[in-house]
Amino acid sequence: MVHITAFFRPLLVALLSLLPALAPAAESAPSTTPRATVSLLSASDALAPGQTVELALHFRFQPGWHIYWMNPGDAGQAPRIEVFAPAGSTVGDVRWPAPERHVDGPITTFVHQGDVLLPFPLTLPASLSGTTALSVKASWLVCKDICIPEEGVFRLELPAGAAEPGSDAPLFEAARAAAPVRTDWQVSVDATGQLTLRGAGAGTLKAADFFPADWGRIEHGAAQTLTVEGDRARIALVPGAEFDAAKPLEGVLRATGADGVERALWLSTADQPVVRTPVVMLAAGDAPPSSGGTAPPIQSSAAGETGGLWPLLFAFAGGLLLNLMPCVFPVLAIKALSFARAGGGEAARVRRHSLAYCAGVVLSFVALAGLLLALRAAGSQAGWGFQFQSPVFVAAMATLLFAIGLNLSGVFDVGGRLASAGSGLAERGGLAGSFFTGVLAVVVATPCTAPFMGGAIAAALSAPAVVTVGIFVALGLGMALPYLLLAFFPALARRMPKPGAWMERLKQALAFPMYGAAAWLVWVLSQQSGADGVLHVLVALLLVALAAWLAGSAQRGAPRACLWRAAAVLALVIAALAVGRTPAAQPVAAASAEGAYSPQRLADLRASGKPVFVNMTAAWCVTCLMNEKVALSTAEVQAAFAARGIVYLKGDWTRADPDITAFLQSHGRDGVPLYVYYPAGGQPVLLPQILTPGVVLAHLEPGP
């Protein structure tokens, strides 16, 4: 039963979230930023004419982010709330929850964090009828290490009628229960700042923390000393800049009683309520249009990235384009060789091979999907191309491609005995060879996130498991389609060259793209693990070459072949050890280099009103390097950046970097390249994944 409930709960929540479209909403559309989600709530589902309804701003903060209390303390600012309501309405001020003390070096502030409800009353005119639109414009300063002013306009439409408690009424009840309670203690303060509390329970306080309601009356951060005697508690406060013993002192006391329970109390030395400038005001004029979110929405050409068939289509198109990506080129070599072999056979055999290749491609993508799902389930932040962030993986790939190259060069032949080795698998004859060629094609293609792919992968990561697998199947089908077309349209296949002696020469020639790819991966590794990593992989390559020569010698009939073979196996084992011990990625020095991306730097630059161009790249991403070469580093683009005062920030994802992973995900992507232009004071613009100088310049133009 419990399991069934757990299973249906998300479904129920999803259905309930659709309800506001059908029923009168007691909660506005939320405003969401990376810092907080904010909405406007009503305690009742209807507005009773002439009666008071409780409204509230509901803040849900990301960890560490906070807003400020009525007295913010040494820094910060309390929120401001403007209410657009029918003529004749009146509003009351926020019923503040008890604040928390936030100490940051010499600066003490009084804050609210986590899940915060700021309730306030609205009294409606007696003439109210029909449906009433209530709008609330709020602005608040949200801070963690830095402060960001945010604002939102929230809108509720409620019918006139008997005010029954709405679905959010329990939230209001909880806020009321937790709000500071006015005490009946006698409260007084003397000229030295000593606060005296007299009454039942005051003499047994175990701990007390006083938060003054007005700024500067006491030193906010100074130590407070509690002493108790008889029915009294005395709290020694340090007078602040605005201290005046003749003026009323009010505030919240977080007091721990004899029972060890902390309660929030409202203390006042005044008999009459103290009048303050309210936080909530009635607004004049018409309500501004409701804002969905206060963070500027990203302008993206890839609209509709999620939902329906789009992710599947994008994935299919991405898979097709993978065939054209530069880093698939070495594998195209293998495919071309396979074509050459298949060209000599009959049509049925070609079809079987193409289906095997297709199965290899698709099943590899399904396996990747399974891996992604497993990592996602484990809470890992898996990103597209993540395999290439592992130095061990890069070293293994370099060794594998080198071994394939040696095989193509004819140093050794692959027989049944090495069937378990990846290099052998891809080069095997028969259907298995075609299958593993497909597998290899997928593995090598991983870092080339073709256009459209980013959105599809992001959708896959955030979608249910079935959809994730579907997206990866579509990717695989797209990638295998050209091969299938050739196989099933014999007219095309018959144009393949006839077998002959040229095949051996072609095979040998195709070794060089393999060596090239291996060299490229060694360069990638040099950026990941430095000189030590390069040494490891070069030792592994040397041993693989030795093993290949030993195996080849045995195959060519050298005496005591089993000894040669044993030596080859030994060399391979040592090579595997060298690869397996490739040093882990070195941590990047904390945003030291000028122009290196960090969230802080981006926030600073944006805050200082500078336009910023962010380039997210990786050494193993050929598309990224091409874009830099042909577009970003050209004199034309550089001059345009300089002329506009654009600051160029580069994020290097060659090694796993959680900040960059977070940045990619915040733009709905899970791989590089990603280019985002932030105009000064404007909304960020996503650029395509394939750049030309013209494309970059077009996106730098001032928007509409």
């Binding site: 010499p106 830095i146 000393t225 340090v238």
Partner: protein, 205 residues
């Protein structure tokens, strides 16, 4: 018994005195302004004593803070030009610790000042927060005015409306400007201790 109580009272008095001393580390208006020495954005050493007999304005800054940005859309530059034109010394102080918001080196500070048209007499780099802590600077922009006699004449906000909205500048009482003008004219400052507002100063912890 009496001894025990008096011991406790003595301890209490000591504790109170200590906490008061800590809290009072920040100078009050009318007291002598704490002496300081700091390196400016051009690498020169600057001491408060260099400006004995002159009116000195201290402005705490952090270019990433929205409240500072509100003032650097022209308001702060105008205030600097006006005050220095009348003979005051204007010291912009940056107490952001390395790695925190607003921390910059001298050349960057100079470039930003040039871009913004800021004209302080010196831009002081205070990455360890020594000057900031000596004055109890809590926010950016926190403003201080030191009279020619070396006493603190004003401490507090740059104006009376705590907001990051530039349109509020025209509506607010210009507290810092009034204080600077009063000190330059040798008059007492009407509102000498006011509420500062802004982002917290990003001190090293």
């Amino acid at each position: 018994m009496t001894t025990a109580i008096s011991h406790r009272s003595a301890l209490l008095a000591l504790a109170l005195g200590l906490s008061a001393a800590i809290a009072h580390a920040a100078p009050r208006v009318g007291e002598p302004a704490p002496a300081f020495a700091a390196v400016d954005s051009n690498g020169r050493s600057v001491k408060l004593a260099d400006f004995a007999g002159r009116t000195v304005v201290l402005e705490w800054t952090n270019h990433g803070c929205p409240y500072v940005q509100k003032w650097y859309q022209g308001g702060m530059q105008a205030l600097q030009k006006d005050a220095t034109g009348k003979g005051a010394v204007w010291l912009t102080v940056l107490s952001s610790a390395p790695g925190t918001q607003g921390h910059v080196d001298g050349p960057t500070a100079n470039r930003m000042m040039k871009e913004q048209g800021a004209v302080p007499t010196h831009y002081l780099l205070d990455p360890e927060g020594r000057v900031g802590r000596a004055y109890g600077a809590q926010v950016t922009p926190h403003m201080y005015v030191i009279a020619p006699d070396g006493r603190l004449a004003y401490a507090g906000g740059i104006d009376s409306i705590a907001s990051a909205d530039v349109s509020d500048i025209a509506k607010a009482e210009p507290l810092a400007r009034l204080a600077i003008d009063a000190v330059l004219a040798g008059r007492p400052v009407a509102k000498a201790q006011t509420r500062p507002y802004g982002c917290s100063v990003k001190y090293a912890n």
